[in-house]
Symmetry: C2
Subunit: 196 residues, 2 copies
């Protein structure tokens, strides 16, 4: 529970809250990267950020709320790269170069946050409605249209998207022992087949 | 609980049990097709097969056991088609023709049993280890190798497999309003790009 706030002090509290939230998320992201999502507890975040456990619960509700906030946080960083970053990932390069750069970046990004993406994956009925998937599909389809492909850009967009699916990448790396380099080469090969 | 069986009568009971199980599965498959998986209860199967509810529980354990048995049942029928059926789906046709036939058959088959495949879908960590997915991937990879593709057959096999993913097909048909015909054309187009 938040303490009652005298009227007039709220704006200052809000600014504190925003700063506080950003600091907690940064601590959570660091912990997740160092020890894995499994170890990411409300307690661990409180300790790492040197605040009380109650503060972490007030900001995120529960562990699922924390995971969701963390996903938004890392996803926004990735999206800003392909939506408004420097070429070839961002605008200004040819569609093929942007597609090639997108796959390499997505594979690296998702690999670093794989457990988070899997932990936050919803039911199969909801999968393709999640914002991160929709943004990626829209982006890929846009680049395919721009390339003037002879195929169905929406369906080919799903083919490219499917190659980068978190559960598939995890399977190929962890259960089939493939290297990220092999997946990156496969991506470039797939882009060229799709653009053909 | 099964009643105690006098020694010597067991073989007859087993034969009965096998027949019984097949009859219950046939009834369950009919119910699922007519009313959807949501409505498929142990009670409904018992009524449709004109047996007591206890018999259904003895054969399948619980509703999840029934769904799993039903999936095995429809999957075996589909698998026998592409593993040992007539060409072009079965052996004896060129790899491209078999790939084209596989996609059309899989889209139609999965569409008829979509809710069942989704209801039986496990956690993302297990998805690519489920027998039906492994058999399909092995088959697609084998045909790609046979076609002499210049790419990485294992990865291209996953690209083809991903196009037929139950959750994706459901999304495209139910949430994006695409026709099965459009998905079938997209499949042929994808096969040709992948074989290129």
């Amino acid at each position: 529970m938040l303490p009652l706030t005298p009227i007039g002090e709220e704006p200052r509290l809000r600014a504190d809250a925003v700063r506080n939230r950003a600091r907690l998320l940064a601590a959570a992201a660091r912990l997740a990267e160092e020890h894995g999502i499994e170890q990411l507890t409300m307690d661990a975040v409180a300790n790492a950020a040197a605040v009380g456990k109650g503060t972490v619960f007030r900001r995120f509700g529960d562990r699922v709320g924390l995971l969701q906030a963390l996903l938004d946080h890392v996803e926004v960083r990735f999206q800003s790269g392909f939506l408004q970053g420097d070429p070839p990932l961002g605008p200004g390069a040819a569609p093929r170069d942007r597609l090639v750069a997108f796959g390499a970046e997505a594979l690296r990004h998702d690999q670093a946050h794989l457990e988070l993406y899997l932990a936050a994956e919803g039911k199969p009925e909801r999968r393709y409605l999640t914002p991160s998937i929709r943004v990626r599909h829209t982006h890929l389809t846009m680049l395919l249209r721009e390339s003037g492909t002879s195929g169905d850009p929406e369906l080919l967009g799903h083919t490219l998207l499917g190659y980068l699916d978190s559960a598939l990448v995890r399977h190929l790396v962890a259960q089939r022992g493939m290297s990220l380099e092999r997946l990156e080469s496969g991506w470039v090969d797939l882009v060229d087949r799709v653009l053909n």
